[in-house]
Amino acid sequence: MNVRIEAVAIDCLMVRLFDAIDESNMPWMLAATLRLREGFGAQLIDLVPSYTTLMVHYDLLALNPTQARALITDALTDLEPDASQSGRQHVLPVWYDLSVGPELSLLSKRSGLAVDEVIRRHSQREYQVFALGFAPGFAFMGLVEEALAAPRIKTPRKRVAAGSVGIAERQTAAYPLESPGGWNILGRTPAKLFDREIDGYSLMQPGDTVRFAAVDHAEFIRLGGDDTPLEGLA
């Protein structure tokens, strides 16, 4: 691994660890995150992890750019992947239904698989959380199998219901809040994904693994789900 440090703003440095998205990046990313948090201590304002990079936002009143670079270099010397931090495992109940998952039929058509088979394949795999972004608690997960991969819908929806579970290319995610969105929506989870009452605020964190479990309408409602049809929101 060849770590590169690049200036990206007056008080931000990009630490580039990899060049491609890969599930095997994660133990390195988690180890580097830990080292950087320790190395910067109170001088760290924010650390923004993504698929292949960690953006370090440091306190410019405490450090100049040269000092910040040196801290990063020191923190990442002799970095070892951290396999012990395997992350938490989540099971998200999902009600897969056309009324809340309008792209189920599209994905069925694209893949040539029956709707039930699309659901089975989406929910049988264990996904890794690569990064959080787009909205509070929005976890980019992957990778979905090739047959289910689909580009974002042409015209993004103005409103996607909270809990909507979707696919974009080979990634899958659930919308924590109602928001605009362009992912192919397959169903809805009643799980609370971002809440100030949750320890750590976000249910999912980078490095966690997630499995979707199909539930029926009655179970979805029992778990507190809102079954207002997606297209009814528009």
Partner: protein, 313 residues
Amino acid sequence: MSVLTVKSSTPLCLLQDAGRFGVRHLGVTQGGALDWVSMSWANRLLNNPLDAAVIEVTLGGLNLVAEADCCLALAGADLGAMLDDRPIAPWRSFFIRKGQQLRLIRPVSGARAYLAAPGGFAAVDVLGSCATVSREGLGGLEGNGKALAEGDRLTYSGASFELHALPAHRIPDISCWRPLDVVMGAQIGQFSGVSLFDAFNSDWTLDSRADRMGMRLLGPELIYQGKPMISEGIPLGAIQVPPDGQPIILLNDRQTIGGYPRLGALTPLSLARLAQQLPGSVVRMKAVVQDVAHREQLGFMRTLQHTTQDLTL
């Protein structure tokens, strides 16, 4: 405790502070006052911490009534503020008596005014800040991301009985005749040579598609020749260039990660000036080295901290 009652407001009248930090890895945006320089001066005029909660008023439309005698401070844009029928200029503190009405009406110069109260406005702390982010439902008076609205009661517990005004030579230049400083970013070498020349030698017009997430610039098409990018963290002020070649400057309420190539990022001082520009304004950009920008920022922070003695009236 003193109270100001909101008589009328707009979705662009927001409680703000310096923003939300230490939570961006969760996808939570930074938020906070777009013109942090004016916010800081408004607070300085009342001897508040520089990042105490203020009201950011964009373009006007805020009307408040005082429930008790008090002292407030105004900085940033001149939005034609009136205290009953008396004009109130920015960059100073002023008394408001019980029953008097303060109105911020429409832009005379600049776009955003900052109203501060002694000790800062009271607000619910949400993840370390009261910064209002409507899109995320975080911050504001009740913590749910709502803008100020008719009937809201703004409270604060400090007191101030001395009037201060910022000396003329300290009043920031909120015009944009000086170019905006850009710390060059990692993808700078992957734009075409012509595009790099254009970026730093052309007039850029601020599009009307502008909000607290970002401002779009209209001008020559910038051509990125590098590989498609994998999403990565977005710093404040990043100038991203989507496939249409028209740059977008990303502001306080931006998404936390994104995959468009970037020219670089504006410095905080340039962002404060940009926040005062209205759609249709013309700006220019100038490249600056990270170290130089850092030293300029430290110099300005010292000025902010040590200007107490020359606040006179």
